[in-house]
Amino acid sequence: MTEFRTPGRELARFRLRVVVAMLFVCLCLGLLATRFYYLQVLRHEYYLTRAEDNRIALLPTVPHRGTIMDRNGVVLARNYATYTLEITPDQVEDVEATLDELATLVAIEARDRRRFMKLLEESRNFESVPVRSRLSDEEIARIVSQRYRFPGVEVKARLLRDYPQGAVASHIVGYIGRINQRDVERIEQADNEANYRGSQHIGKAGLELFYETELHGITGVEQVEVNAGGRAVRALSRIAPIQGNDLELTLDIELQRVAEKAFGERRGALVAIEPASGGVLALVSTPTFDPNLFVDGISTQDWKALNDSPDHPLLNRAIYSAYPPGSTFKPFMALAGLEMGKRTARQAIADIGYFNLGNHRFMDDKIGGHGMVDLHKSIVVSCNTYYYQLAHELGIDNIAKFMGPLGFGSRTGIDLPGEASGVLPSPEWKRERFRRPEQQQWYAGETISVGIGQGYNAYTPLQLASALATLLNNGKQYRPHIVRHVVDSLSGERRAVEREPVREIPLKPANVKAVLDGMVGVNSEGTGRRAFQGAAYTSGGKTGTAQVFSLRGQRYEEKRLRERLRDHSWFIAYAPAQAPQIALAVLVENGGFGAQSAAPIARQVMDYYLLHQRAGGPAAEDAEADEADESVDAGPKDEEVVEPAAEPGLPARGAARSPAPAAGRRAQ
């Protein structure tokens, strides 16, 4: 190691600085010592009183969670007061023994015990953990009289959440549950620990999750004297909590109930939107579940039953499941043709029953074709050939360019958690979606499938309903939303959640009218005629069938196919035709043809909404009879008579309706 002889002056300067630093250090440590002296000697009495004699605890006061009401003020989620039996683990020597003894006073069942042990593991030691809720007066009296025997055991008044509508609208309202480790991390991320001190529940799903910050409220503080055992003796001062804000929805719970009932046992989804505002009137996903199960910690059996069910009741199909739109896509395709100048409303093509691309033949449903087909007829009879040609002429890029702004393939931004974006296919999408180069290639044949709503297309019922609503508004697009007002709990001020349109797509009114006229034709003379027979209002609609399963490469097993692999049934509709008040999309999973199972549901919902008639009322009898009629003799024979151009039939399977790249490749 080489050593420099530093000039003495520099070394002296350094040492001077060390001495100065030393003095500074002594000064600061002296300052600390003074502070300690001040706290520990001069103010000792004061702090000792605060700590020893009167241990003052700051108790958080949990605010009342906001209530959720539908558009008519019907309560969907509320609080109710209940007494709970709670144990603070670190004040109890032997938790098991205490539980055994408590069980001699109040009923503690095996599942209460299991739930308690689970909560115990998740909680911090100094927080009390509930053993039983909903104690009866008699039970409370018994515990309180014996309380001296149980240090660390308390009866507390708590507010629990109640969902009076039960399973109705459960996917929208969602539920709250006990705060778990993941929630704690989320709260910490938001730097919100203080406000959740004392809170035991947090929104887990639906509006309860999405509007958690509005609903929760602001935690209050109570300064209390605590005795040596940690029990509150006397309240000293309090800052009152601020109740959470209430939510007023656009939802009509009675309409929702009618819609859910209309599904019966079938799985599916329905979204009904008020076109003029984008407010969601009903949003159904069946099967539903009872949100009350979750509030107090769901039992293992209940959870298993819900989670393992093949029907996936917890899944919100209306916003999360994307299905090929089938022929419900045709009105939008028709509009694309008009707007992009590829078609005029009058212009007719000759449908000879198929469309050739290269050496591949895309079949129509009707053998021999529909003859001369113009735009109106193409929608009314759901003519595939018309749209094969149109898609080919437009090209996939133009289709994607037109459909994107309508909301296809992107999240609508509805105020619910867990929305899926669906798939608006395009060559770019395919390049990003697939890894192997041969899969990334876009084939011309795939465009043809997209034209009739099959192929890679996949949209949520919400996206279809929202796109229809945009059409009805001549391109003015509102964000679909469920909450109309947030009611401020302090000022009572009602904040509107959504008022302005998010964008305006420049559409020519004449073009929109031509398409909508076609949809009115569907319900008066086309595939929707049976379902809307005798309706007291004019309506527009479009049936659709989404293929679930392509037979390609698979053995045809009739038994399995009959159940889960049958086609999904679609129907989109609006009414009244002159001034639309409701736009909806219905999907029935494995429901077969759209006209058969989805359209009657739409009819019941519209009847109720527009005429306030429940199924069973005078006008609805028709609808019911109609449905019964349908279910009895709905068969190929009947379909053919009523609607010769029913949804894409079997001949087209594997060809035009196949979403498979293989089909496209063959088409090349």
């Binding site: 350094f14 440590l29 100094f126």
Partner: protein, 381 residues
């Protein structure tokens, strides 16, 4: 060690050779205190803290073998690595508690700002060593820039506590390198005036709609809570209120080991990490607190002694800066727990629970020992 016979005494001597007895004494006292306090504050963490002790002492021992000259050769690469990792954090870092601090390098997550605590004084000491005897004003400008780059990156993470420590580490080197008093005095004065005005204008500045521009919302909250802990009695203020109660109620001789009501009735938050000093003050009183202050003072005096007699310019700067960093940790932590400084996440050196800080601190002690050894060797040669 030329003897061929196995000699356990000689081996032990060789093993202990780089260790400085006074520093070892201080370390023994501090780690002993840590052990005793941890039994009261959080006994379930004793095992893992024991492991931290072993790792940290091992790191210190290894560091004590590395001569200052060799260490300084790593200054530039370590500094460059630290800056690169900080940029990496900015681009790919993981977010935790609203701040981006961690970088996942596959095997483990690392906190690059921790590297900077060592790399920063090393880098500046190395730089001034190059300019020894010809230090000009421009060198201080360069040094300031070298300081500001990583500090800026840490501030935007945002991690106020660590950025202050890293900035302090660099500023100490600059101070010891001889920055003119004409600059230091106004800077310190400005700082004092700034803090003073914040204290006096606190109420206006802490209105919720006032945006402080430089500091993030949660940092503003911390400062405001210090000025008036009752502002947020459940959140940030809760810590300070409870820790001052713990300290004050300890009195002259404390409530006795394991007898602290604040500690054991769970009023004291973070009692095993940043607020462990309150446990000491509650259970051992003013006597315990002053003994701790004295122990730290002994550590600092020894550090300054090593700095004053270190053989080279760079090792002097390094030793001085390390010593001042120890002081900063201790002062900021005790100041915050006793309510005279804002709550910034700085642990009580050698005592708070946690491995990372302990290893960093012990590496610092190892450097002091190595500098001391280089002096002894220089003198004997």
């Amino acid at each position: 060690m030329s003897g061929s016979r196995f000699n356990p005494i000689a081996l032990l001597r060789a093993f202990l050779r780089p260790l400085d007895p006074i520093l070892m004494l201080v370390l023994g006292l501090l780690l002993g205190a840590a052990w005793v306090l941890m039994q009261s504050a959080s006994p379930e963490r004793l095992d893992s803290q024991g492991a931290h002790f072993a790792i940290a002492l091992g790191a210190m021992w290894l560091m004590a073998w590395v001569s200052p000259a060799r260490l300084l050769r790593f200054a530039l690469p370590l500094y460059a690595l630290g800056v690169l990792l900080l940029i990496g954090v900015e681009l790919f870092g993981e977010v935790s508690k609203g701040a981006q601090r961690w970088l996942d390098i596959g095997v483990t997550r690392i906190q690059p700002s921790e590297i900077m605590k060592i790399a920063m004084p090393l880098m500046l000491a190395w730089y001034f060593q190059q300019r020894e005897g010809q230090t000009r004003f421009v060198d201080f400008v360069v040094a300031t820039l070298l300081l500001l780059l990583p500090v800026g990156l840490i501030v935007i993470q945002p991690d106020l506590g660590t950025s202050l420590l890293v900035a302090a580490a660099g500023l100490y080197v600059i101070y010891f390198a001889g920055l003119s008093w004409k600059l230091i005095v106004p800077l310190v004065a400005l700082l004092v005036i700034g803090l003073g005005s914040i204290v006096t204008l606190g109420d206006t500045l802490c209105q919720p709609d006032v945006d402080w521009q430089v500091l993030r919302e949660y940092q503003k909250q911390r400062v405001c809570t210090l000025l008036d802990p009752t502002r947020d009695p459940l959140g940030r203020g809760f810590h300070i209120i409870q820790s001052t109660i713990a300290i004050g109620s300890g009195g002259m001789s404390g409530k006795g080991w394991m007898e602290g009501t604040q500690t054991h009735l769970s009023f004291l938050p973070e009692r095993h990490t940043d607020f462990i000093f309150a446990v000491l003050a509650e259970e051992f009183g003013l006597v315990g607190a002053v003994v701790l202050l004295a122990t730290y003072l002994l550590l600092l005096v020894r550090g300054f002694f090593i700095a004053a007699f270190a053989p080279t310019h760079a090792s002097r700067l390094l030793a001085g800066s390390i010593t001042m960093i120890f002081f900063t940790y201790a002062f900021v932590n005790m100041g915050m727990v006793s309510g005279i400084l804002p709550v910034v996440g700085v642990p009580l050196p050698f005592i708070s629970y946690g491995g990372t800080a302990l290893v960093t601190l012990c590496l610092g002690v190892g450097m002091l020992m190595s500098i001391q050894r280089s002096r002894l060797r220089a003198r004997s040669s």
